[in-house]
Symmetry: C2
Subunit: 338 residues, 2 copies
Amino acid sequence: MNNKPTIHDIAKALGIDSSTVSRALNDSARVTKATKVRVLAKAAELGYQRNMLASNLRKNITNTIGVVVPRISRHFFSSAIQGIEETAYLAGYNVIISQSLEQFEREKKLIEGLIANRVDGLLVSVSMETINYEHLEVAKNNNIPLVFFDRHCGISGYSSVLVDDFKCGFDATEHLILKGCKHIAHFSGPQQLEIYKNRFNGYKAALAIHNVTFKNEYVINSRLMEQDGYLSMQNLLNSGQKVDGIFSANDVAAIGAMKCIKERGLKIPEDIAIVGFSNEPISRVIEPSLTTIDQSGSEIGKTATELLLKYISKKEIPSEGQTIILNSKLIERHSSKK
Amino acid sequence: MNNKPTIHDIAKALGIDSSTVSRALNDSARVTKATKVRVLAKAAELGYQRNMLASNLRKNITNTIGVVVPRISRHFFSSAIQGIEETAYLAGYNVIISQSLEQFEREKKLIEGLIANRVDGLLVSVSMETINYEHLEVAKNNNIPLVFFDRHCGISGYSSVLVDDFKCGFDATEHLILKGCKHIAHFSGPQQLEIYKNRFNGYKAALAIHNVTFKNEYVINSRLMEQDGYLSMQNLLNSGQKVDGIFSANDVAAIGAMKCIKERGLKIPEDIAIVGFSNEPISRVIEPSLTTIDQSGSEIGKTATELLLKYISKKEIPSEGQTIILNSKLIERHSSKK
DNA sequence: CTGTTAGCGCATTCAC
DNA sequence: GTGAATGCGCTAACAG
């Protein structure tokens, strides 16, 4: 029961050599059809299953890609993983998932662990704490291809699959302006992450083009948790500043802000309009007062995986790194303002 | 660069045997402290990393657990995976994730694949199509412990971590009755899955206890996708039957139903009250008209993983199988009805 | 405490 | 087309 049959068992049973069995099982061209049939039949009879561990050790590959995300249960990431898993499955790859929980140290350990497990490639969305990149060098030194998705860091030599964050920020802000907002705050995240920097730049650009004054007090940096959004909104309202629009750099903070706004008896979007990034389950709810920037997680996951698999199969990592930027679109679900 | 150092390299460099190096690296008690230090130093110097593949082959373990869920991006499952990953990480295990997409054939292949990859244990939430269980026998024959979570199937000899579905169904239905509903429909799923059967039984029990007539026409079976909920609701309304309450066996179908109800200009919960299972992002939205049964995915994932790890470390699978039932609670967010 | 020997199961040389 | 030998990198058994 516990001693599974090996190629030797089936070789012995057939009176041939294990190497022939191995070749037959791998459908080698240099094995006669007749023996292939016999081998396959015997394998089925014995309930043989290839020991991937041994096979992988020999071939020095694992057919596995490692994924590191900040938090699996965040909708954006779970749908990205959905796309990753699906694409990997079709290509015959397994997917090992791990989450950094936004902690740099954990991210580092996870990546080292995945490399020690000899994953064939790495898909990474960095944590908010990540400001140095030596742990990524390990991948490079080990010749393991790595593709960033969504969150990357501004260093060269790596490939990334991203959405056009500048455009997102621009569109979101412009949307608010066209709706009549004149005092638009921006909830942003850690500025070492390109996505937040770019969304912020988009925000500024839209203000500039439409001749709306940029005010530093309207930009609030946080880790963009729900609680952060709530508190940011609260501080903003308590400060006595006029605010009639919010562009939140993520969805969760937008929810926190909504909660605060509603508690004050204010109306969305009549009193304060909001644009946040998409969180599909929320946008599915009828009558959300949230206009969203839609980024398809599974699309990003799929694209990133395809790129990674290309590197893996070519056995070469482009030293320059390439960047793929996917489109996003603004989805307005509530248009009563102005 | 590509030929990574092995224990032999560091053995050679130190003029000792590779087995001593191996022992030192594993912190064996039978190696002098001095040599341990030398080995560790040399290992660091050479940038040595243990080849887990080889180690695993030798030890015939993988430190990996395999997870099969219907769909990763469903919030319940992604939060379950969150709990699984976190618990596994703390115990030093990797997690391979795969999704059946509710397809039996795919589920079968996935489980076989995971077993071929020699996972140490399996965590499974079966697909809606799963009606025979031979693919699970494979795990048993290979002596690989398997724990069901959330969705199990009514066969004995397996362990499961579940919520009390009967109670959920009962509570949900009773809640509607107490709110004044007299014509309560139930959206249910495939009856070979225990969870749906039990929720249905809870529904019937609550009706019986409160002397509300059970009507077969009020029970609609589907795969509980959003579209199913929408169509079920539509058919119900078109049929001309009186309906003032819905107990949906999952969250997604409840959303579909809500959409349909609102399109007709009806109000929730004034005209038709709804109870569905919890989908955290939705329940977080302010003023949802949905009362939910809260099941903590990460709690279930954590508990299931702990149980599985216990089996793995004890190297024995209880032939009887044990079942852990977690509590759920009804969360009312809107109480204007009656 | 350390070295020797022997595989884990498979895939790949090289002969023939 | 097939068999014999070799080793992927590591660990375990047995000596000493």
